[in-house]
Amino acid sequence: MISVGVDVGNKFTKAVVLKDGQVISKSIVLSGFDQKQSANEAYDQAIKEAGISKNDVNYVLATGAGKKEVDFANDVVSEVGAGARGAVYFFPSGRTIIDVGAEDGRASKCDQNGKIVDFAVNEKCAAGAGSFSESMARALEVPLEEIGPLALQSNNVIYMNAQCTVFAESEVVSLIHAKTSKADISKAVHDAIAARIISMARRVGVEKDLVMIGGVGNNVGFLKALGDGLEIEVLVPDKPEYVCAIGAALIAAERN
């Protein structure tokens, strides 16, 4: 039984091939302007890496912001449902799932089967998502992969007032001019993103265990801010950016 999950995110498209419930290959490509094309590319790569042909695939389930563009999928599933299913696959005790990608931040509560009980999603602004830290990294002239570790070097609390990514960037510039250290600013940025996510998590109600998925799960600065803010251990699977695709592949296997 071979199933595939394709997660067309705002920035990256991921595909995961599952054989009898085990991941046998995965791929990631930039989503770009043509989501249909990126879904095909990710799918082709994952199939090739798995050493199978498309004819061997029993069911494809698409998820993510561009899920409707995946014309080869048998069906679609919401990214909230796919994320929870994937998170519980890695951590069966997971009941609160935080999923932060490039443009979206989500908090959901699920049961032992990964079925959603309640959820909250960020509103019209990306201040609680990965693109915020990306934009701040640019303002600080720090490579994206360094902005998280940089935040860990600071213990100072600086509150950011701006509610919007664009205004926050000018606030960061003001802090730079005020000779605030990059580490302090980086921590302030991650505290601000985490604060947005924490308010969503509290809205749905935080229950142990808490699992963090999505690309921002790779950012240690954010994970520290989230764990400190919620006073809870944050569990993160290996390569958290693939969890939604894995969840979709798991649901695909059940649907077939």
């Binding site: 912001a65 679609v76 599933v77 919401s78 990214e79 909230v80 449902g81 979206d104 079925k115 959603i116 009980v117 309640d118 959820f119 999603v121 509103e123 019209k124």
Partner: protein
């Protein structure tokens, strides 16, 4: 016949009794050719961007319809931004008649407000009561459509929304509107009943996006309870006009509204509820009360500009329906 614009549902019986034509400015705005342009027009005039689009839309709508020279503005029981709306319209030379629903549902205060409006229009209680009977016959038909929606499963959520929301002004012509309702009732009765759908409640102000109901129905879910729209249709049998507008829940406390919502959720066997709140509206704060007091799966939706459902809102709806299944 002279036209009276209304900013929300008011005792419209008074306006019809005077031989005037009421025009629900919300309906006129949202069904206009380009509602977004009306919002932008108000912003150009100086209305803030972070303000409810309905208020901005109503402002430009009135200015673009010079046949509406009188507006009845609800200063209590609806949006407090109406105060500034009323003043900016006054600045443009529009005659304003303020109307306030007393927060505590006090019958004497409400009667006083209605009588002040009657005095403006120069009508007596006899005339108003006759008008109430005339509109009551139309309201009965719309109530039947609501019953066909939830009890017989013969009408769509959109039809339920449209006909009930239209009861704020009866599209300016109660008899014509009544005939249209009758036609729909006949057609609905000839349909096969819908089966196996998720049953949803929609609470809060009517949506500023046009495709919500169809989107839900394409995904096997149907709105069988439109809370505020049903209130516009006046669902309760009452002995008189004052009591009718005391029973009407929308302008009063959220707790009073919740009594009605809980009762209907139970009666209509709802699987879940969508709470819609307009961006920048005080009712967004009340969402926390709704969440705490309503023991049903709840999805809060926010809408800003008049448009179609955006991708993020669709994702929320998909996830909510998945969750209910």
């Amino acid at each position: 016949m002279p036209k009276a614009g209304i900013t929300t549902t008011i005792p419209v019986e008074v306006i019809f009794a005077a031989g005037w034509t009421p025009v629900d400015l919300n309906n006129l705005f949202i069904t206009g050719e380009d509602p977004r342009a009306l919002v932008e027009e108000a912003e150009l005039a100086g209305y803030p961007r972070n303000l409810c689009a309905w208020i901005k839309g109503i402002y430009s709508t009135v200015l673009n319809h010079r046949d509406i020279q009188t507006v009845i503005a609800v200063t209590q029981g609806d949006c407090s931004n109406t105060h500034a709306l009323m003043e900016t319209l006054q600045l443009a030379g529009v005659e304003i008649v303020p109307f306030a629903f007393p927060y505590g549902r006090d019958a004497d205060l409400l009667r006083l407000q209605i009588e002040k409006m009657m005095s403006f229009f120069g009508v007596s209680w006899n005339q108003v009561n006759e008008s109430r009977e005339r509109l009551g016959r139309v309201r009965d038909k719309v109530r039947e459509l609501d019953r066909l929606t939830w009890q017989e499963n013969l009408a769509s959520g959109w039809e339920n929304h449209l006909y009930q929301v239209s009861c704020s002004d009866f599209s300016g012509n109660p008899e014509k509107f009544s005939a249209e309702t009758e036609l729909l009732l006949e057609e609905a009765r000839s349909r096969p009943p819908r089966k196996g759908e998720l049953r949803l409640g929609y609470i809060g102000v009517p949506p500023i996006v046009g495709d919500l109901y169809n989107y839900l129905e394409e995904r096997g879910a149907r709105v069988v309870f439109n809370e505020v729209q049903r209130q516009f249709a006046m669902p309760f049998e009452t002995g008189g006009l004052v009591e009718q507008y005391r029973q009407y829940t929308y302008p009063y406390s959220i707790f009073f509204r919740l009594e009605d919502i809980r009762r209907e959720a139970d009666r209509r066997k709802l699987d879940g509820v969508i709470h819609y709140a307009q961006s920048f509206c005080f009712r967004q704060i009340e969402d926390l009360i709704v969440r705490e007091k309503l023991d049903l799966p709840l999805l809060t939706l926010e809408g800003d500009k008049p448009n179609r459902l955006d991708a993020r809102t669709k994702m929320r709806l998909d996830a909510f329906l998945d969750m209910l299944r």
